[in-house]
């Protein structure tokens, strides 16, 4: 299964972190730091693998891809194929690209929730759920629609009813 997904910028700031096995926040921070420590020392045009076992323990592998100012990192175990995981990173980035029309780091920073929605449609509980970015996008759009709809419906009653009820309690 996939153990973790991380997006870290080239300065070492985490932009997205999702661990599919519970880790305390301190541990998460430590792991991300160690991964960045190794990533930042890697040259360009070398293979996309990293020795993960020293960071994440036995039977773990790590692939990453470097796009502009961001590293996309997937940590997984022997039940995943390394090259397929690289493709999955590609699927993720492609979907983001379609989502945000030419994605850049700022989009990733400002769209925390959306990012997770996209990721959750690709990876579910550490399992690869969907590998077609079109399908993912479809689902994400549905969810976003539902979200805004539920907010819009509530907007009117909320501003009236809740205000009124509060005024009366004064």
């Amino acid at each position: 299964m996939i153990r973790a997904v991380m997006v870290i910028n080239t300065q070492g700031k985490p932009r997205l972190a999702k661990f599919y096995e519970f880790q305390p926040v301190e541990k998460q921070q430590e792991l991300i730091r160690s991964v960045y420590g190794v990533l930042s020392s890697r040259a360009e045009n070398v293979s996309n693998f990293l020795d993960a076992e020293s960071i994440f323990g036995p039977d773990t592998r790590l692939v990453y891809k470097h796009f502009a100012t961001l590293y996309f990192v997937f940590v997984f175990d022997s039940s995943e194929n390394e090259l397929a995981m690289l493709d999955l990173i590609q699927v993720f980035v492609e979907t983001l690209d379609k989502c945000f029309k030419n994605v850049c780091e700022l989009d990733v920073v400002l769209n925390y929730s959306k990012l997770h929605t996209v990721l959750d449609e690709i990876i579910f509980g550490g399992q690869v759920l969907e590998t077609s970015s079109t399908e993912v996008l479809k689902a994400v759009e549905e969810i976003s629609k539902l979200e805004t709809a539920s907010n819009a419906i509530s907007l009117v009653p909320k501003s009236v009813s809740s205000w009124r009820s509060r005024w009366y309690t004064v």
Binding site: S79, L86, Y112, F124, L129, R166
Partner: protein
């Protein structure tokens, strides 16, 4: 209060505001964040769900990317979960799956909410609940929600169904009994037409099969069908992974899948699938020569690819194939060696591993040469990786591949001098180890040690200190092989030794002491020899088997001994052996000079150098160096220095005296001095080695000794003993005996009461730490057995030896080393067999349940399987209420009410059950015919799976599903 709430709602910062604020803030990030956190704490308590949800979203963000603890908000998350609005629910579920774990107390409160959402008509709400469950499901949640999951596994909405399949993994893991309910439907999802569903289902089975492959053998036909029919590479990769686990368990299965896998290799254009096929072949189908050949061809294509990823994976595949098919590596030798200088550290490392896999006794010297050259050129990190792997490969299985120890020892010396070398500890360990195990190599060891000690520059490198201490110890312990003890003494006492840490410095002093004793003794013997041969006559019978004695005494003694007598005296230490291995030809013993080639010149010059003047100078030199050290701050140094100093004080008044008037001196005085020296020399010249196990057995438990039953305080004792650790051997015999004295009672007290687990592990730990002091337990006599006993490994080595022999014949001219017999390498320590870890109970539970479901078991009430069958029949009906009711019953059964369903008629399933045993006979006969899975695979397969279900009871024999 209300006013506050209004203001709060109106001016609450959203997550966007927070993120933007964080980017623009001027007050410092942590100050900004702690202020924001204060706000959030307040807002999270709000009764307004909008405020609460915004606060929780911000909090989750901060927790996820700025690592703030958000456990305090757990209850607020639960509150928000019950909101009817989708956007709130989404935030709440996100927060829950991010922050909840098994120990979160409020988890018990969300069961009903999850159930409600799982049965919601809105597929996206269901999806949220499933997603959360896949992360946080506990035993209780898994148990309570199994019925809902079961229903969803047959959902008509693919969007929901694939997530339900995904969540099953966690549910099975937490609550293995859910397998009884859900497994059938999971299998059915494997056979649906929707490729997305199949993909997730195969993924789940891949995870399950990886943990416990045996249980999933019965599903082989289903997987085989997918392997042959599927066009989806993601699915194929997962199926290949499953077969990689199943094939080694069932040879007939391997035979079946090898062709389809090869077909994929030939046909596929996808590198990921290709690599997975290759990996499957090399790891699990390596007995099929043609498949391996095909895979190796493809590996070679990967190796020469420009893409470093493919190159890296190709090398990885090669190292998997290496143990069984070394030819594959040798075929690609050039690429592998070239990869050592690749820019990519991963590739370098992988190729290093491969190079090490190629090492054999015939090429170890050649490969080590190449590697050391690479190490010299490499960056420090890789240099040490290279050195480390050379060291670990060469010492594997007690230096199994080393034939020429002289070469290896000088290689160790050379490696020590590589500028980036940080392997001091390992080299130190091996130098000492070889010194103790391989007697024939000691002269070379002393030579290498001397070269290291004499170089003052090396003392400046702290990484080398450990090596230097080993060199010092070796040259002290085996000083009799030294060409020039005086030079050695200078090296040991040189001023720059002050750079050493105290403990190592103490080793230097002790070694200087040994050298001094040796010089004095040699001098006296020489004189004695000249005057009369009385000493030497006495010495030989006194200390039989002492090489140093005999050697320093010179050839006269050796010559006087008959060869057979000598052989009896000491088998492992026959000077004749030494001569032969050294010179490669038999040498006459009768001559005046010592006959050993290596020793001839040494002894000659030694004889010349042991003059009265040189000895006096030596004494003065040592005294000068040692006296200041007696005021050192370190106990070890003071102790050693005092020893030496006192000895010199003792000897000196007598020495010059007796030396000056050596002709007319009174015999008593001279005898006094030489007696002391001889005693010291005897003490030092005993071979250091481990104590035999039987020696401890011979010690009877003293009368007054009460053995403690509870050995908990052993840990503290062991902790104490560990302190001197590696250096303890260097402190000479006396110290060694002390150590042994300490360890014997411990050992005994552990042995006597019948060791508990803890005890044995402590013992093993101690043994590991102080392996030096232990002998192999299987050997009862005091002798050191050869480490690589050919008799022990007779079976495995037979053809190897043959190959070796032919190789030797073929290359004997090129590699003269082989002509020389491998010296005896004694075994000092029995290899510890690691204690197998206890079985994983949870896993066992799961696999046990899976096996129950697939193979059936008579211990289970029959109703269970019939329930499952009923579930299957209902698949197409998809009536939620009915299956829920059904599952309610299952739950009841689990609570012990197992007879509830017995009364209900299940004619169909019962019929099948009854039919099955009847089919038993056919089953066996039809095995061959069933070799090909038929197009109607599902039902056939199920029946086939069912048939042995009733036949096999406790010990399930793996049935021929595929065959």
């Amino acid at each position: 209060m209300a006013g506050f709430s209004v203001m709060d709602t109106l001016f609450q910062r959203t997550l966007d505001d927070l993120i933007k604020g964080l980017r623009l803030q001027l007050m410092g990030e942590s100050a900004f964040l702690s202020k924001a956190l204060d706000e959030i704490r307040r807002e999270a308590k709000s009764t307004d769900p909008d405020t609460k949800s915004a606060a929780l979203l911000k909090l989750t963000y901060l927790s996820s990317l700025h690592f703030y603890d958000m456990s305090f908000a757990a209850f607020h998350v639960v509150e928000l979960l019950s909101s009817t609005r989708f956007s709130h629910k989404k935030i709440a579920y996100h927060a829950a799956s991010h922050s909840f774990d098994d120990s979160t107390p409020v988890l018990v409160l969300i069961t009903n909410q999850l159930r409600k959402d799982l049965t919601s008509t809105n597929e996206f709400e269901v999806s949220l609940a499933l997603e959360c469950l896949s992360r946080i499901a506990t035993v209780d949640l898994a148990r309570d929600l199994t019925p809902e999951i079961f229903t969803l596994l047959a959902s008509s909405k693919v969007f929901v169904r694939k997530k339900a399949i995904g969540v099953v993994l966690r549910v099975f893991d937490r609550y293995p009994d859910s397998v009884r309910v859900c497994f059938k439907r999971l299998v059915e999802n494997l056979e649906t037409s929707d490729s997305q569903v199949v993909s997730v289902a195969v993924g789940v089975f891949c995870e399950l099969a990886l943990r416990d492959p045996t249980s999933y053998l019965p599903l082989a036909p289903e997987f085989y069908k997918i392997l042959v029919d599927s066009k989806n590479n993601w699915v194929l990769i997962k199926v290949l992974k499953i077969f990689a686990k199943l094939a080694p368990l069932e040879p007939r299965l391997a035979k079946r899948v090898v062709e389809p896998v090869c077909e994929h290799i030939r046909r596929t254009g996808a590198k990921s699938l290709l690599f997975e096929c290759i990996r499957t072949v090399v790891s699990s189908l390596s007995d099929y020569e043609h498949a391996v050949k095909l895979a190796v061809v493809k590996i070679r294509e990967m190796l020469v690819d420009d893409d470093p990823n493919l190159k890296y994976l190709g090398l990885q595949a090669l190292s998997v194939v290496a143990p069984k098919h070394l030819w594959a590596v040798l075929e690609n030798k050039e690429v592998v060696i070239k990869s050592l200088s690749d820019v990519d550290p991963n590739i370098k490392l992988e190729s290093l591993r491969l190079v090490m896999a190629m090492v054999s006794e015939s090429n170890v010297a050649e490969i080590s040469r190449v590697l050391v050259n690479y190490a010299l050129k490499s960056d420090p990190e890789f240099c040490n990786l290279i050195l480390g792997s050379i060291l670990s490969t060469c010492c594997r299985n007690v230096y199994e591949i080393i034939i020429d120890f002289d070469w290896y020892v000088s290689l160790l010396g050379e490696m020590s001098r590589i500028p980036h070398c940080q392997k001091g500890e390992e080299i130190e360990k091996q130098l000492i180890d070889i010194g103790m195990r391989v007697k024939d190599v000691r002269p070379e060891l002393v030579r290498v040690s001397r070269d290291l000690l004499i170089d003052p520059a090396l003392l400046g490198n702290p990484f080398l200190h450990r090596i230097l201490s080993a060199a010092a110890w070796l040259s002290g312990e085996y000083v009799e092989f030294s060409v020039n003890p005086f030079e050695l003494m200078e090296a040991l006492l040189q001023p720059r030794t002050s750079l050493l840490p105290p403990l190592l410095k103490a080793i230097y002093i002790q070694s200087a002491f040994k050298v001094l004793i040796f010089c004095l003794n040699s001098y006296l013997l020489l004189r004695g020899d000249a005057a009369s041969s009385s000493y030497s006559d006495k010495l030989v019978p006194d200390v039989p088997g002492l090489f140093s004695e005999r050697d320093s005494v010179g050839c006269s003694d050796l010559a006087s001994c008959d060869a057979p007598v000598e052989a009896e005296l000491d088998e492992g230490f026959n000077p004749r052996d030494l001569n032969q291995s050294f010179g490669g030809l038999s040498v006459e013993y009768g001559g005046e000079e010592t006959s050993t080639c290596g020793q001839a010149s040494a002894s000659a010059s030694l004889k010349d150098s042991f003059t009265h003047e040189s000895i006096t100078n030596l004494l003065n030199r040592v005294e000068l160096a040692v006296v200041p050290l007696t005021r050192s701050y370190d106990v070890e140094i003071v102790e050693r220095a005092r020893n030496v100093h006192c000895f010199i004080e003792l000897i000196k008044p007598q020495m010059p005296d007796c030396l000056v008037q050596k002709e007319e001196s009174s015999d008593t005085e001279e005898a006094e001095a030489s007696k002391i020296i001889k005693l010291m020399h005897d003490a030092f010249s005993n071979d250091l080695g481990p104590i035999s196990v039987s020696a401890q057995e011979r010690v009877s438990v003293p009368d007054g000794l009460v053995l403690v039953e509870n050995l908990e305080d052993l840990e503290t004792i062991c902790g104490d003993v560990q302190l001197p650790s590696l250096n303890s051997f260097s402190h000479g015999s006396s110290h060694f005996e002390e150590m042994a004295g300490v360890s014997i009672p411990i050992f005994q007290s552990k042995e006597e009461p019948g060791p508990s687990n803890e005890c044995t592990s402590l013992l093993a730990e101690h043994r590991k730490q102080h392996g030096l002091y232990y002998l192999p337990s299987e050997k009862k006599d005091g002798d050191y057995p050869p480490a690589n006993d050919p008799q022990l490994q007779a079976n495995s080595n037979d053809d190897e030896d043959l190959a070796k022999l032919t190789e030797q014949l073929l290359v004997s001219k090129k590699k003269p080393n082989h002509a020389k017999p491998r010296p005896v390498v004694v075994k000092l320590d029995g290899d510890q067999v690691p204690i197998a870890a206890g079985p994983h109970s949870q896993e066992d539970l799961l696999s046990g349940t899976v096996r129950d479901v697939l193979l059936g078991s008579e211990t289970k009430p029959t109703t269970r399987s019939s329930t499952k069958r009923k579930g299957k029949e209902k698949l197409n009906v998809d009536s939620t209420t009915e299956s829920k009711e059904n599952l309610g019953d299952v739950e009841k059964q689990d609570q012990g009410n197992s007879s509830t369903r017995k009364s209900k008629p299940h004619t169909h399933s019962k019929g099948r059950r009854h039919r099955s045993p009847g089919k038993k006979g056919d089953e066996g006969e039809e095995n061959c015919q069933k070799a090909k899975p038929k197009s109607s695979g599902r039902h056939k397969a199920r029946q086939r799976a069912d048939a042995p279900l009733n036949v096999v009871s406790q010990t399930p024999v793996i049935p021929d599903f595929l065959l």
